[in-house]
Symmetry: C2
Subunit: 314 residues, 2 copies
């Protein structure tokens, strides 16, 4: 059993009634609280469950001496100091691979939306103007796409690009994945990938080595006209360098991770017509949501009942 | 040489300067005219070149006794009485297969736009609201898609659906295409296809046998929640029957062929929130446009120089 489980930033609808019942069955107390009210409650909590974007640093961990488990309701746990948690014997888990297809499909949804000017098309037709005169889209077929990070999502995007859209894929990944390579999915050095792609899609996790992975030098390698899409954490990007190239109209930028960006950055970026910012919906499908909830609660149940936590990351 | 070539409804930008030069080299006179001014000019024309949506019936053909060739700047020539033209020794050609990939990619662009609520997402973020709270998309992966008509575009959509998106494809076509069938692309009777698909995409040409192919009886076979997408001529649809099911919220309808629809139909359909009408941009990409122009002018040159017209259809 968990004595006191804090669900920071959760609302009741984040989990189905059924999943809340499974939680209630193995927790004496559960609290869904807004982030600003956590500090008081967490003092004697043994379970802390957080959403993407939450920072759990050493100081925070020290303020919760009874903590046994920290669960991330999402994949990226780069904002949790998992190494320090381990020192303190606190298990950290995340929810991985629940939305691989959803994110990969979003990448193509967003690329096609951009390539075919669908937002403008719908605005125009909603105003009663059904002329095609001002439209000239671009095919994805035959274009090159650079995939940075060939984890499960990157690999799925690569396969869809090659097998579905007839694109030529170059990838770079921290570990080369020869088993994923085909005639149209080829490995290359990072600089080669960046400087030879019509589209570049980022799929790195946030980790000490990946922060501003897309540094000014690497952003500058993208050739003029490149469409850069980021469904991974925003911290991968040197935003200032991106902005310089946006201002020169050298790049198109498509983002969905706006929830983690400072408001000032968001406002500034949203002024560029070649920057499209979605709410963070790449992961958000019914199918992914069902899977995410059940994996998440499976892990909480494991933690509460003293079994091995399947998705433990530290 | 053609003595007098009429380009009905064309504007100068429909063809590149280079293509106009190729035309000028083999035509004594060329006239780009609006449809309402054709009747006078066509009397002594030997070449008539028209755009999609133009009706060329028996009476019109009779009004142009010197006509030798009618060229359609597009694929669908169902509105041209090609059989009667043949009786009169007038060759009819179209431009086929120039936009296969463009249309197929548009189908997925539009399906994904709908499945992930991207128009609403962008409207929301443009207003400064980056919350994901109200979004719950749908994956295409694992869903079933019915393809009606397995010509080049239908076959391309089928392959992209199966190989790229992991969808299960059922198709019906006037001629069964066993060479296109795979584990995930299977043939079925039309009623089976219509009643077993999450998505239905129409890819029939307009011909005497296909007008209102999607009759009231067939529309009624679509199960509740089906997304019907039509990038083929609107005449395939019994619009009244579609409207009945739209009004009951039994269907989602996605269209791009609005240019051929009467304004009253358009206005009525556009009132339904489950009906998305694009300007006719499925065919409109740079790649397709270049190819379309060069195939079109190749055929004009062939006609003018007395060679066999490659794309003759009658």
């Amino acid at each position: 059993m968990l004595k006191k489980a804090i669900f920071q930033g959760f609302c009741k609808t984040d989990l189905s009634q059924e999943e809340w019942k499974r939680i209630a069955a193995i927790c004496e107390q559960t609290h869904t609280v807004s982030p600003d009210k956590v500090s008081d409650l967490v003092k004697d909590a043994d379970g802390l469950f957080v959403k993407l974007g939450t920072k759990i640093d050493r100081r925070f961990i020290d303020s919760a001496p009874r903590l046994k488990v920290i669960g991330m309701f999402g994949t990226g746990y780069g904002r949790i100091d998992a190494a320090y948690a381990r020192e303190r014997n606190i298990a950290v888990f995340n929810v991985a691979d629940y939305a691989t297809r959803s994110v990969a499909e979003f990448v193509f949804a967003a690329l096609l939306n951009d390539a075919r000017h669908l937002p403008r098309a719908l605005t125009q037709s909603a105003a009663g103007d059904y002329s095609d005169a001002s439209f000239m889209g671009t095919q994805l077929f035959g274009k090159s796409i650079g995939i940075i990070g060939l984890g499960s999502i990157g690999a799925c995007v690569a396969k869809m690009a090659a097998d579905g859209f007839g694109m030529n894929v170059l990838y770079w990944s921290q570990k080369r994945k020869k088993d994923q390579e085909t005639k149209h999915i080829r490995y290359a050095e990072i600089n080669t990938v960046l400087s030879n792609s019509d589209y570049v899609s980022l799929h790195l996790a946030l980790a000490p080595g990946t922060e501003t992975f897309m540094s000014a030098a690497r952003i500058d390698m993208l050739r003029a006209g490149t469409v850069l899409i980021n469904t991974a954490p925003m911290e991968l990007l040197d935003l200032k360098a991106v902005e310089v190239r946006l201002a020169k109209n050298h790049l198109s930028l498509i983002l969905d991770h706006s929830d983690e960006m400072p408001a000032a950055d968001l406002q500034r970026l949203s002024r560029y017509t070649n920057c499209t910012i979605y709410p963070p919906i790449a992961y958000t499908t019914r199918e992914a949501s069902t899977r995410k909830q059940s994996i998440f609660v499976d892990n909480i149940v494991a933690a509460a009942t003293g079994r091995e936590i399947p998705n433990r990351v530290n």
